[in-house]
Amino acid sequence: MIIPLEHLLVFGAFLFAAGIYGALTRRNILGILLSIELILNAVNVNLVAFSRSTSLSPETGQIFALFVMALAAAAAVVGLAIVLALFRIRKTVWTDEINLLKW
């Protein structure tokens, strides 16, 4: 390892906290999707750092990072399809103007 594992984990935690902040505060649905991609990348950084340095099976971390990427792609595709369908019906991407399911 060229830098200590803890520094990479702190970097991952920072990306995760920034993603949580974005997902909570963005009014634009696409902004929320961007924040979720940020969170998934934080997890991947941790998985790859562990795969490089811990004494457990080294393939497991990288393979799980691959699976996370595949699921992130699936989530992004379905999420963007929902955003486009919603925009066609309601002409808005602001979350507080989308209240179809309220009352």
Partner: protein, 169 residues
């Protein structure tokens, strides 16, 4: 050799810092298009971190899938739904202060936990994995999750088509 390792180490720290700044840009910039471009910078930075951790295959996959495919889709969706020239007003909701406080507390608690945990480290790190090792693992112990992922991807593809198409029969 010593100076090369030193430069490499501090270059990696600089890369982490730039990526973290771009991540802050993703969640705070008012223009959603600029935020998406910041996310592209974050993804490329993370790919460079993978390469520095000698996970070359993952770095290539990150560039191909995230930067090449997902971000293209996201920017396409932004251009379809947004007037980019006119900056939108009020891009954050009322939760800005509590959410900032909460994520700051989360980050501090996570950092304290990270530094106080005894990780089962192997001194010197593991040998770097090649794409061949990953392929053997995917076809061996992880064959079932690999197949399940392909089913999930097909389901997401069909579901996205059904949701986003225009006319309903």
């Amino acid at each position: 050799m010593e100076t090369l390792a030193f430069l490499f180490q501090w270059g990696l720290y600089a890369l982490l810092a730039v990526t973290a700044v771009a991540a802050v840009g993703v969640v705070t910039l008012a223009n959603i298009f600029h935020a998406a471009l910041c996310l592209v910078a974050v993804l490329i930075g993370v790919a460079a971190v993978y390469a520095a951790l000698s996970a070359g295959f993952l770095a290539a996959v990150q560039i191909l899938i995230y930067v090449g495919a997902i971000m293209t889709l996201v920017i396409f969706a932004i251009m379809l739904t947004e007037r980019i020239a006119t900056p939108a007003s009020g891009t954050a909701n009322r939760l800005v202060f509590p959410a900032a406080l909460g994520s700051l507390v989360l980050f501090i608690v996570l950092s304290r936990l990270i530094f106080s945990t005894a990780w089962p480290l192997r001194p010197g790190g593991n040998a770097p994995l090649t794409a061949e090792d990953l392929g053997r693992a995917l076809m061996g112990p992880y064959a079932l999750p690999f197949e399940v992922i392909s089913v999930v991807l097909v389901a997401a593809l069909v579901g996205a088509l059904v949701i986003a198409r225009k006319d309903r029969p």
